[in-house]
Symmetry: C2
Subunit: 396 residues, 2 copies
């Protein structure tokens, strides 16, 4: 955590303190409290100090594991398990006990808590600028190292996926004469069985676990399914089609995320698909070339869009309702959240050294398939450093 930057940013608030009511699933909470509480707890930042209020169950661990300056527990305010109103009374007492009469909460803070504090005379303002998110966006060297480490695990998982695809037989081809007699020609086979998205995803996930990472979801999508950027994919994969593999693991130790996408084709791709792959590689280069301090997220997005638009493909800039073409933003910040500030999209703000971002142009059409290539980079004083160490190659 960049404490100096935090102090400087929160000093500007029109409130006495900054309040979070969330569990460890909230990245702001994890960042400010340094505590992995599975149930919601309060964190109050006031006068440069971080105060926690946790249940008795979490008290011992919060004192030893959190990065907070002070930890209190419900019993300190006479609260026992149960009543909702009593719980809110305790929250108001906790805040007032620190001399705080007004707090700022992030936009996604809970409205129940905000309104309950208001009813108890504490002013609650929404931090519409999401200042804590902006502080989090600029990573310290230690945070960049944590992301780099998760990215190494990501690369091991991508390698496992690519090897599984590369070693597959193809139904209907000579080498697979022993395979599943029922498989349609063109379907990939592993050990005689159709190779499915689910099977490749499992290989990725097991590899990540072996490397200390966890994840909720992985995208392994082939053919028409790969034409929907958020489709996770399912069912048998096939030769001569684009297979998008998008992996975003989280380090179990540090809680920082990595993110990378590669698109593979087993055997030769049709000409139209090859063309789209090459174009996407050019869009990636163009977008990366635009990454430097002072450039905006919008500039980087524009660089990718221009490559596609010049080739006649629609983007959200040329047609907000299009369902084919380049139909997402060029990238996003990443850290304790997979998606955080800054955005590489229309309206995306200025890049700063320490921003860790994905750059991930893609092109989609159900009739041809989907292609996406994504690298993970950190903005530096004079450009960027690419944290991705994985080759970009279509045919496997």
């Amino acid at each position: 955590m960049n404490r100096a930057r935090l102090d400087e940013t929160l000093a500007d608030l029109d409130a006495d303190g900054y309040l979070l009511d969330a569990s460890q699933e909230d990245a702001n909470q994890l960042y400010l409290s340094g505590f992995t509480g599975p149930d919601p707890f309060l964190t109050l930042y006031v006068d440069g100090e971080v105060h926690l209020l946790v249940s008795g169950l979490e008290y011992g661990r919060a004192r030893t594991e959190s990065t907070a300056d002070a930890v209190e527990r419900h019993a300190d305010y006479g609260y026992e398990y149960g009543g909702r109103e009593e719980r809110y009374d305790m929250y108001a007492d906790f805040v007032r006990d620190k001399g705080v009469e007004s707090v700022s909460m992030p936009p996604r803070g809970p409205v129940g808590t905000a309104d309950a504090l208001r009813e108890r005379g504490v002013d609650v303002a929404v931090d519409g600028d999401d200042r804590l998110g902006e502080v989090r966006a600029v990573k310290t060297d230690e945070e960049v190292e944590a992301i780099r480490e998760a990215q190494r695990a990501n690369e091991a998982a991508m390698r496992a996926a690519e090897e599984l695809l590369a070693s597959a037989d193809v139904a209907g081809e000579e080498a697979s004469a022993d395979g599943d007699a029922d498989a349609e020609p063109g379907v990939l086979l592993a050990e005689g069985e159709p190779l499915t998205s689910e099977r490749v995803a499992e290989e990725i996930e097991v590899t990540l676990l072996r490397h200390g990472c966890a994840l909720d979801e992985t995208i392994v999508a082939g053919g028409a399914r790969a034409a929907d950027p958020h489709d996770r994919g399912s069912g048998p994969l096939r030769a001569n089609e684009a297979i998008i593999v998008d992996i975003f693991p989280r380090s179990k130790a540090t809680k920082y995320n990595a993110d990378m996408t590669r698109t593979f084709c087993v055997g030769e791709p049709p000409a139209a698909l090859r063309e789209r792959y090459d174009l996407t590689e050019r869009a990636l280069s163009a977008a990366l070339d635009a990454v430097e301090p002072g450039a905006t997220g919008e500039d980087v997005h524009a660089a990718a869009c221009e490559v596609y638009e010049a080739a006649g493909h629609p983007t959200f800039r040329t047609d907000p309702e299009t369902e084919t073409g380049f139909i997402h933003s060029t990238g996003h910040g990443i850290g304790l959240d997979v998606h955080e500030s800054p955005r590489l999209a229309s309206g995306g703000g200025e890049l700063e050294p320490g921003h860790v971002i994905t750059v991930e142009p893609g092109l989609y059409d159900p009739d041809v398939g989907g292609v996406r290539i994504e690298d993970l980079v950190v903005v530096t004083e004079d450009g960027y450093e690419n944290l991705t160490e994985y080759p970009i190659a279509f045919e496997v």
Copy 2:
């Protein structure tokens, strides 16, 4: 989803509609929208219909995969990526377009959205009773089956963990003469290396993945670390100490969770630990005996507390500040969230058929160790059905 119950419950609202602004990580959102959107989107329940508002990126998938009655996208309201205020304008337009002038939001809904709608003339009330959570608490047969299926995966993982412990050598004992010469006597050894919490957790997680489940965390905590109920455990495990294994996996297909805890001891436990284990088994029986429709969560909690209190152990009922004894609630509802309604704790409300709950008494003391035994049950018309098919045995 129990649509009839939902309609009946939300019909009582003092508002025109019920509004969610959340991603799939929010269980209410997953339940009401039936859509796995990775970024926050709006779901509005009004006049018995569920309306979604998603980004262009999610539009295709939301139309085919969600259970909503209608899906709209940002472009339908002329919104393009970017401005925060324009985004809130779109939200207000979307709500008003359905004839809605007032909405209810759950307590953990985002205050930024609530305040922005209020500024635009839409009344926003907090659903302090968390009615949607109460609807979710009562499971349909299909939901119970999904939980049962996740529990089968859980049992496979528990078996893998138990087998790893059972097959371990013990440093300093004859059989492990070939083991790690540096390991302290009493440390468990697997293939000559100290067997750690991390290694057992990895085995659990890999087994779960092979069974279609994912999870963020697992507890494998031995010795003094097991005396903190939420400690995940780390480092070498030892013979003759209690090792708590608490697994709460989520089915990747259905998103429903299971939950189970067993406590194991490799070799003979000290008498004090054995006594605590037997007492906890009795507390579990007493609590389970109390589970039936009409009983309250407080009743079930009391049944467990009484066993411990009668044996002279502190509980939160006898000492809210105690850090040893029975220092958590007896259980919780489980479904799309690992922790949801009802609570088996002081103040916990009435149990109903269809409630799926954990029953998990435990006893903790850093000087002796921690013990917890947890089963997963569904409340039935005349009592409960235990969904757990795993033996309760201490020594392995």
